[in-house]
């Protein structure tokens, strides 16, 4: 008999094995973030010209490990926890085949150990992209393959859970929007992992000598089908987390289920595209394909993100206005719970992702504009806005929500937690902005020494570039302090937080179930449909969320201006054809 416990505070149901899996995956993710964050500190302190901490060989090794540990390991472990939450807990369903889910988890752990061992043995400083023919040790690729297979199993467990929930009729009507978002992420993940297998398995065979040659250009094309769409997983998943937090904190309902779901559908339809934006200056790829692909057909996935950018804050605004916060355009936002890290984390994630990461990403993914940006430090600037301010901060906000609910511990250091999203989001935004600025001056990414010591030719970037990299260094240190605060609060709460359930001991924080008496074999009551709206506000002529509309227009204007500024910059470089 499946056993469930109901959270007495939120009413959420946790299936016993699913609960353990969520905890284990979230904790594994946090450990990866700890490792990745320490490595990030070493990297940023090396790229801060006045500090220039590590020697070259260590820098390239640490940078390889930082990219992989943060972007792949931390993000995907946490995504697994989200899938199990969105599938099992939100649908009040038992998790399908928990044993397989554990097998996947173990594979992922083995993968992490294998790849990190390879990197720190020193022979695999190839960066996370591992472009052939630069070789890495076989267990570098093998670890990534095992990790991906583990994640794939997790995806199928999630899909299986949806089937179980449907068959056992655990919910009325259609699956909730948040689960729909998780489903989008899962579908994209399966495509991603298939591309990953297609390129990493041959590369592994090449590294052990079974295959003699892999075409370097083809490698890049297929690798980016993995590398790019994996970022689409993150977007889908963190947008789902935004919707979830808006729902939990404000009781916000999606402005339109149809619009939000259609936007997710656009992600799925155009997910395999856009890998070209990493290849815009590559030889041997035609412009037609580049244009079609980099624009996701015609920017339809960008359209989808712009839609979520309106509907997430719009949903919050409508909910706030219904509570009486109707003064002016922005009372709903001013009086939002800015001291609650769940909200501030989520909102900074939304704004940072849209304004910094989104705009810069579309601009640099324009076929010709890539010429003035490709492989400069602008690129890490951009993706620290998307994947760190956006995804990572969304995961952090979700963690604060889950500590009492999932782990049954009260959060420690609430005063520090209040500031944490601002420290982390603010510091990382500084890194993003100033790296982007330095990139426009031509500073290279993945580069140990912007002074080119040891080269007789000599070249110096303008002094401003050094200043910008120094400011980014300061921002990075602030972000690392914010990241450390997050880990201190979460790990501290798991170990020392006040117990909300008598049986929530230390082991329970790491995956062991609570006392038997907490669970019951009674099937949870079927999840009802959301209550119908009191006032039928949709479809009438008024703008329900005018403040959000103003924000959206500010985003659009910034977008347009910044886009054309970059065309102007481009028009000033040497003619090329």
């Amino acid at each position: 008999m499946s056993q469930f416990r109901q959270c007495p505070d939120t009413g959420l149901f946790f299936h016993k094995p699913a609960e353990s899996l969520m905890k284990a995956n979230a904790v594994a993710g946090a450990v990866c973030l700890l490792i990745g964050g320490i490595l990030g500190l070493l990297v940023i302190l090396t790229r801060w010209p006045a500090v220039h901490l590590l020697p070259a060989d260590a820098f390239y090794m640490v940078l390889t490990a930082h990219g992989i540990t943060c972007l792949i390991f931390w993000i995907i472990f946490f995504e697994m926890a989200i899938l199990y939450f969105a599938g099992s807990t939100l649908l009040r369903s038992r998790l399908a085949t928990p044993r397989w889910a554990w097998a996947g988890f173990v594979l992922m752990i083995v993968g992490v150990i294998s790849t990190l061992t390879a990197i720190f043995q020193g022979g695999s400083s190839v960066m996370m992209t591992s472009y052939v023919p630069m070789p890495a040790a076989p267990h570098f690729y093998l670890g990534l393959i095992l990790f991906a297979v583990g994640a794939l199993i997790g995806c199928f467990v999630f899909l299986g859970t949806l089937v179980v929930a449907k068959n056992e009729k655990t919910y009325e009507g259609s699956i909730p929007l948040v689960t729909f978002g998780a489903l989008t992420a899962c579908i994209i993940a399966i495509f991603t992992i298939a591309s990953g297998a297609e390129i990493l398995i041959p590369t592994f065979l090449w590294s052990v000598g079974y295959i003699s040659h892999i075409d370097a250009a083809m490698y890049r094309v297929i690798w980016w089908a993995l590398g790019h769409s994996s970022q689409q997983i993150n977007v889908s998943a963190h947008v789902a987390v935004w919707y979830l937090i808006a729902g939990v904190l404000f009781g916000a309902r999606p402005m339109s289920e149809k619009v939000s779901r259609a936007a997710y559908l656009l992600y799925i339809l155009f997910l395999q595209l856009a890998s070209a934006h990493h290849l815009l200056t590559d030889p041997g790829i035609s412009s037609d394909w580049k244009i079609f692909n980099t624009s996701y057909a015609m920017y339809l996935a960008v359209l989808a993100s712009m839609i979520h950018g309106l509907t997430v804050p719009g949903a919050i605004e409508v909910a706030q206005r219904n509570k009486g916060l109707t003064n002016g355009m922005f009372e709903w936002l001013r009086k939002a719970p800015w001291g609650n890290p769940v909200f501030s984390g989520m909102f900074i994630s939304l704004i940072g992702f849209g304004f910094l990461g989104g705009i810069s990403g579309v601009v640099m993914g324009t076929e010709q504009i890539s010429i003035i940006i490709h492989n400069t430090i602008y690129v890490p600037g951009h993706f620290h806005a998307t994947v760190v301010v956006g995804t990572t901060l969304a995961w952090m906000a979700l963690t604060y929500l889950l500590i009492p609910v999932l782990f049954r511990r009260k959060m420690i250091l609430p005063g520090l937690a209040k500031w944490q999203p601002y420290l982390f989001g603010g510091g990382m935004s500084i890194v993003a902005i100033f790296h982007m600025a330095a990139g426009t001056l031509g500073v290279a990414r993945r580069h140990w020494d912007m002074g080119f010591a040891g080269n007789p030719l000599g070249f110096e970037y303008p002094g401003t570039a050094y200043l910008l990299m120094g400011i980014a260094g300061v921002g990075g240190v602030i972000a690392v302090i914010g990241g450390a605060a997050y880990l201190l609060i979460t790990v501290g709460s798991l170990l020392f937080g006040e117990k909300l359930d008598a049986s929530a001991g230390i082991l329970q924080s790491f995956g062991v179930p609570l006392a038997d008496s907490v669970y019951s074999t009674e099937k949870p009551e079927r999840l009802p449909m959301a209550p119908a709206e009191a006032v039928e506000g949709h479809g009438d002529s008024g703008f329900e969320a005018p403040g959000t509309f103003v924000l959206a227009m500010v985003l659009l204007v910034s977008f347009v201006v910044y886009y054309f500024i970059n065309w102007k910059y481009l028009s000033e470089v040497w003619p090329l054809s």
Partner: protein
């Protein structure tokens, strides 16, 4: 309470969409289309486009072409390593190669003249990053890319490598002088 609950209406896809969302979707769609058409537009009216011309090649074949050009047009040598500097005539094919950890040879070009610049890598990926103009291209081994460049300002330019290519990546520089 509803983003994580099943939609309030069983047939949620028939609920009409609010005016505000429709307006925003239309505005965003128009913007997306403008961005899309900017790219073909620039191919026709803009001056900075990466050509589609590229050939598969091998390091040996490519090196031979580079050497032939050096033999013909070498004007001097630079640095203790005696790296040749070539001054090919305007309009000609210019061959530049990337290898661990050098751009070879150095070039002298004339302002406002066009050159068919060929670039390939002898070993791993490299990044052609011309400073301070900030023109960046990916150089992939096995492929010879050809771009027609027209330097429009005179001066000394440096080619930085901005694709990680191993332990001495950060020392990989080359030179182009525009007279």
């Amino acid at each position: 309470m509803t983003s994580f609950m099943p939609p309030a209406q069983r047939i949620w896809w028939k609920v009409p969409v609010g005016r505000q969302e429709i307006v925003w979707i239309l505005i965003a769609l128009v913007w997306c289309l403008i961005m899309f058409f900017m790219m073909p537009y620039w191919h026709v009216y803009g001056k900075q486009n990466i050509s589609n011309e590229a050939y598969q090649t091998t390091p040996a074949k490519y090196q031979a072409k580079v050497q032939a050009m050096i033999d013909k047009y070498k004007v001097r040598e630079e640095t203790a390593q005696k790296i040749p500097v070539v001054a090919p005539p305007a309009g000609s094919d210019v061959y530049l190669l990337a290898r661990l950890w050098q751009w070879y040879p150095m070039l002298e070009l004339e302002k406002d003249k066009s050159y068919r610049l060929h670039i390939s890598s002898m070993d791993w990926n490299h990044g052609f990053s011309l400073q301070p103009v900030n023109i960046n291209m990916q150089i992939v081994p096995g492929y010879e890319m050809v771009v027609t460049v027209t330097p429009d300002k005179s001066g000394e330019y440096t080619i930085v490598c901005n694709e990680y290519c191993g332990i001495m990546h950060h020392t990989m520089l080359g030179k182009i002088w525009v007279k």
